[in-house]
């Protein structure tokens, strides 16, 4: 009995460390990354070696903690690296406001600009909130690179 519990603890912690620092597959929901990631039943494969923005590049899809509610995790695409100048809202043809992304921050937007809460709302995002980089997505058993 005690031996089983001990095994369970060790296996559980092993899975926890693996998910936190190496690789994780999680279900996603929400339409902000359509059409790259489906609004439901889609799974994303997350490489955790890229946490804290390590070796992240312009155009990568990252999993981040939402700055205005860190218990929520969101999937967004990096559309601005530190010191880049970005147009705050490209979906509004009359707005020409630009912002420079501060050091240690990135600019993130959803692929579905009309249904996404992202840097256009909460501003540049600290890289320390990056939990990992999305390397693939899978719907059922078909895995595709993103």
């Amino acid at each position: 009995m005690l031996k089983t519990a001990s095994y369970a603890v060790r296996v559980g912690c092993c899975v926890h460390v693996f998910h936190r620092s190496i690789y994780e597959v999680t279900e996603t929901s929400g339409e902000s990354m359509m059409p790259t990631i489906n609004y439901k039943d889609d799974y994303v494969h997350v490489n955790k070696f890229n946490k804290l923005g390590r070796r992240c590049q312009f155009g990568d899809i990252v999993v981040v903690a939402k700055p205005t509610d860190p218990s929520q995790r969101v999937c967004k695409r990096i559309t601005g690296m530190p010191r880049d100048f970005v147009l705050i809202d490209p979906s509004d043809p009359h707005s020409h406001d630009m912002i420079q992304v501060p050091d240690g921050h990135i600019w993130v937007t959803g692929d579905n600009l009309s249904h996404s809460i992202d840097s256009r709302t909460y501003g540049p995002l600290p890289m320390a909130l990056i939990k990992g980089r999305v390397v693939a997505a899978s719907l059922g058993f078909s895995v595709r690179k993103v």
Partner: protein, 162 residues
Amino acid sequence: MHASLKTALFTLSWVPVFISVQQVCGQLIWIQGRSMQPSLNPDSSLGTRDLLLIQKYGLRRADSFSKGDVVILHSPIDPEKILVKRITALQNETVKPRSSSYPKKQLKIPPNHLWIEGDSIHSVDSNSFGPVSSGLVVGKARWIVYPFNRYGPIPSKSLDME
């Protein structure tokens, strides 16, 4: 040979448990720098650094923080850097930044953000980079473990001013 291999595997199997406890429950951290003087690392000439016990659990919600708490967090301007600062204002409060170089005279802290300052004047804190998301917080400092003559809870700032 067989027995030593078994011992090695047994020890190895507990390593993830140890890491998990550090990530989820609590951790001991050495404090560097003088930004929290005189509460932490009070005398840099002694050559000793403070060792703190950090609480890692129960920090998900915004109301798990209160004014005066000392927190460990990732620097918003350099993700690899870890800071130790004191919370001086909570979400939805209005603050006046101390430094004149900050672009705004007065601002309201956004939801789930904190205003953090070092106890000493030699500190890079919210007065230069603004409010920080509570998602950057790694843990809350609870206890000074070493040096032994300072063993006890983290001094509050008002106490030191007396």
